[in-house]
């Protein structure tokens, strides 16, 4: 059954005030009095409360973050490649470290050996100093020794000079011989060339002479 005040805007306004809790006491009393005797309006108010509940379902969209880590999807092949690359890098790193370590150890060993030798030399020098100065030398003996060594050096030097000279002379001879052979070959080549040219010229002259003789024979 419809409400007899269905088009009453005053009642509508009162209902809205009541529905949203803005009704003053007078408006509230008016609405309650009407609803008490009007099934249609009572039902309508209940329905409008239901509509209000339904309207609350339309929520605002949440603010969208510009970047969500959970949203990043890494392809499997890329993940596998990353793992392999990491393992390769790690292997290189370990290998490099081991090589470097070995090189350092070897370097340390060499340094220790050098130090040991130096210590031995120093100890030997200290020992020789501790033994005191050597016995004084005889001058004539020293000079004789020197003369002998000088003579020996001179002889060795002369022998080296002679050997060097012989080698050089042999080289010159060899080179002169080679040059001579080259020159002879060139001369031969030139003569052949001249012979060739001369031969061609002779052939051409003969040919021309043939033409001349043929022409004169025809004139006759």
């Amino acid at each position: 059954m419809d409400c007899e005040r269905v088009g009453d805007e005053g009642l509508q306004a009162d209902k809205m005030d009541a529905l949203y809790g803005e009704a003053d006491a007078a408006a509230r009393a008016r609405v309650e009095a009407h609803l008490a005797g009007c099934d249609a309006c009572r039902e309508e108010m209940a329905a409008l409360r239901g509509v209000r509940r339904d309207l609350r379902e339309w929520a605002l969209p949440a603010a969208r973050p510009s970047f969500t880590p959970r949203g990043v999807v890494v392809p499997r092949w890329l993940a596998a490649a990353a793992v392999l690359l990491f393992l390769f890098g790690a292997t290189l790193g370990v290998t490099g470290y081991v090589s470097l370590r070995r090189a350092l150890v070897a370097q340390e060993a060499r340094a220790a050996e050098a130090e040991r030798r130096h210590r031995e030399e120093v100890q030997a020098l200290q020992a020789s100093l501790a033994r005191g100065p050597a016995a004084p030398l005889d001058a004539a003996t020293v000079l004789a020794g020197l003369d002998a060594r000088i003579d020996e050096r001179l002889r060795a030097s002369e022998a080296r000079q002679v050997a060097r000279l012989d080698t050089r002379i042999a080289g010159w001879e060899e080179r002169a011989d080679a040059q001579r052979r080259v020159d002879m070959a060139r001369v031969a080549a030139s003569l052949s060339y001249l012979d060739g040219r001369h031969g061609q010229q002779l052939a051409r002259t003969n040919e021309l002479m043939g033409y001349v003789l043929e022409a004169s024979a025809q004139k006759r």
Binding site: E9, A13, M16, A36, D39, A46, A47, V51, A59
Partner: protein, 196 residues
């Protein structure tokens, strides 16, 4: 307790520009929310909110404080939304489906998958029903139901008498009731007759 809107407006008018930042921070989300419900587009809603604050800032010197600052701000935003809707209509009739496809609605609660789907369906139905209302009824429904403005504030924002705002809301709710009941919604419960 911070300063009231009116105190901040006074401070702005006295030359304290930073007071306007407080007003923006206080009202930006609400204005953007209203614009989103008017237009159905997040991007446009952001633009409208920015434009509304810009307009308000420029016109703040002439603000007479006859209405509340928030009502005035809603008025500016509502007019901007109306302009945009009008431009849309001139370009092409905005179909209901277009408004439907303006991005996913992410509900703020986190129910289970079935409930979430159901909630999305409900939200879609409700949104569709609201968009199907005539513009003047839709504005009142949005400002009242989602923005929580009083009838006086709605009247100021829409520049209409308070009684008109109430009538438009009454009619709008009636339309929604019919449409939602057709969709199988409308949580009508039996109301016992009051004791006489």
């Amino acid at each position: 307790m911070g300063r009231s809107d009116e105190e901040l407006v006074e401070a702005c008018q006295a030359g304290e520009a930073s007071a306007f930042d407080v007003l923006v921070a206080r009202w930006e989300d609400k204005i953007r929310g209203a614009a989103y419900r008017f237009l159905g587009s997040e991007e446009e809603a952001k633009d409208v909110a920015q434009e509304a604050f810009l307009k308000a800032y420029r016109a703040l010197g002439g603000f007479k404080r006859e209405a509340r600052f928030s009502s005035w701000l809603y008025q500016i935003a509502t007019n901007l939304c109306r302009d945009r809707l009008r431009r849309r209509r001139t370009r092409a009739a905005v179909s209901l489906e277009e408004l439907e496809e303006t991005g996913p609605v992410i509900v703020e609660t986190r129910p289970g998958a079935h409930e979430q789907l159901q909630q999305l369906d409900l939200a879609r139905l409700v949104r569709r029903a609201v968009y199907a209302l005539p513009e003047e009824q839709r504005e009142v429904v949005i400002l009242k139901e989602y923005q929580g403005l009083t009838f006086l504030e709605i009247a100021q924002a829409l520049d209409v008498p308070v009684s008109t705002a109430k009538t438009r809301l009454y009619r709008g709710l009636g339309q929604l009731r019919l449409r939602l009941e057709r969709e199988g919604l409308g949580g009508e419960s039996a109301v016992p007759a009051p004791a006489r």
